[in-house]
Point group: C2
Chain length 333, copies 2
């Protein structure tokens, strides 16, 4: 029996710099470390699993999918410690049902996404997309058109999970007028963060100057942010999405964007990569980032530390942080 | 005798919305309110001064210059309440020497400039100029190139006046590693803001990941940020200037920028408007804003409130905030 460390060189360098790889090896004993490039295809992967019959797999973006019948090949498999985000494409739901422990980077990267949200909000009120395009391409200077500040603005957050909670201390220096709408989050959490609850999604959008979209994607929330809702954002208002692209009706968003009445900042999209011909491109009231919310390259180490803590807990029989149960699995990407 | 309110309609609308103009009128009694457009030339302005012999002038960007011999024309003149920033082009030094009280927007707008500094810093670490240009003009998507976060970074601030002090609470949620270099600022101020002092300007630049330029412009600081200093900023570091353009050797900055080794964010320049042919334009590691640091349109009201407080204090014989003495005058633009 060998546990499997299945990581690319680039992942090791950025997620596990310094002494971290050495500690990971100790925690994975007995282990085999293999570069994903050495596994030619699915057949080779399944054979490799069977040969090593691991208890733990430590992997990341290059993870090969586990088959539904993985326990036939690797009956000892108990825990997949996944360094990065998306697990649904590599771990079938049935394995969670059958008790496989799975963790990913969990909330260790939330604060970098919150930081991205603040950047997009500040960039929208100052119209950074406009100035960047005009100043670099058109030799422009200040034309006297309006710019805004975040100070004193009303901020409404759709969703109140970890990223939203990490966002609060970043925006608090600018304003105390913060509200959120997130059905299912208990009142005590809003109280803890001193955030008021909007009575409805409609109230959240129409009664704030800045909307930050952070709601989880479910069947209920898919395209819940529709054209009608977007049109209730006050003039000169801001709509920022750093959560899930598909929560928004993107075609409607593009129509609203084109009118120029509000500023829009996006890091996530319905389809990624964002199509070259997307109508969101080329608009000077839309600030676009290519899903770089988090973790930034320099903060991948936070996810590495999070994984090491979980591997340590697993070895010592303590509880893991952020284990995927079926509910979390179904809400994840 | 009539006091003079000499403001453009646009200034009145944005600096003195709501009840503020009415209060200003009360505080300026007896007053004459005139739109600067109605004063044809310098001769008309001097005649207008002589006719009204004001004690107080309340003005802003459209202020006509006061002549050195203004007390011959308006012997009662005691106080110029200036709504906006630059006073050196409208109030000769000799009038300050002769006891004329002058106030401008003082530190009422500092926080919006601090906000702009944070925006440029966040924009630089995430390479917003790069992504904005690529995504809007070239149909680009995430190419896997590095992005950074502000969390845990070392921040060095050159200058520690009001804007720097307002910046501290905005960056504190990201990092505690904040130092500054500002000769003449007492240790007690650094202690109050829990900021450490760099031993030299060289140490500040070479030992931080992010440099925020906020030093006042004097004969000693003109172009003090030279090529040698800029080259000591660590690779992937950030240089942001929201203070005075001429503190930096801009030709040197453009040469360093072109190499792409650091990210640069600028709101101020040696010559403004920034020349169309500036080598800073078109670089994807340079984020450019056209001197929109502060106040933003929506926060001009803070400068209006500041002016009203000073007019109120003047009427009631209390001390004014931010009166220009000769030292402040000489350091101002």
């Amino acid at each position: 029996m060998n546990n499997i460390i299945f990581l690319e060189r680039g992942e090791i360098e950025t997620f596990l710099p310094g002494e971290r790889l050495a500690e990971a090896k100790l925690l994975m004993e007995p282990y085999v470390l293999i570069d994903p490039e050495e596994i030619a295809d699915e057949g080779a992967w399944l054979q490799f699993l069977e040969e090593n019959n691991p208890k733990i797999i430590f992997s990341g973006w290059a993870m090969e999918a586990l088959p539904n019948h993985v326990f036939d090949l690797a009956p000892n498999l108990k825990y997949v410690c996944y360094l990065t985000g998306t697990i649904r494409s590599v771990v079938p739901r049935s394995l969670i049902e059958n008790g496989l422990l799975v963790t990913n980077w969990g909330s260790s990267i939330s604060r970098t996404i919150s930081e991205c949200a603040l950047l997009l909000v500040l960039g929208c009120v100052r119209r950074v997309s406009y100035w960047t395009q005009k100043m670099h391409s058109e030799g422009a200077w200040n034309d006297g058109s309006e710019t805004h500040s975040l100070f004193g603005k009303r901020i409404g957050i759709h969703g109140f999970g970890m990223i939203a909670r990490e966002l609060i201390p970043l925006i608090r220096p600018f304003t105390d007028r913060i509200s959120a709408f997130s059905p299912g989050v208990p009142q005590s959490i809003f109280d803890e963060f001193e955030v008021s609850q909007a009575g409805s999604l409609e109230a959240l959008f129409s009664e704030n100057d800045v909307i930050v979209e952070l709601e989880a994607l479910t069947d209920e929330t898919k395209r819940i942010v529709d054209e009608k809702l977007l049109r209730t954002i006050p003039a000169n208002g801001v709509f920022v999405n750093v959560g899930r692209g598909a929560v928004v009706d993107e075609a409607a968003l593009a129509r609203v964007a084109k009118e120029g009445r509000i500023q829009i900042g996006l890091d996530v999209y319905e389809a990624e990569p964002l199509p070259k011909g997307s109508p969101l491109r080329g608009l000077d009231n839309v600030l676009l980032l290519p899903h770089v919310g988090g973790p930034t390259t320099d903060r991948r180490v936070d996810a590495g530390d999070h994984a090491l803590r979980n591997l340590r807990s697993y070895r010592s029989g303590n509880e893991l942080k952020g284990v995927f149960n079926l509910e979390v699995y179904d809400r994840s990407t």
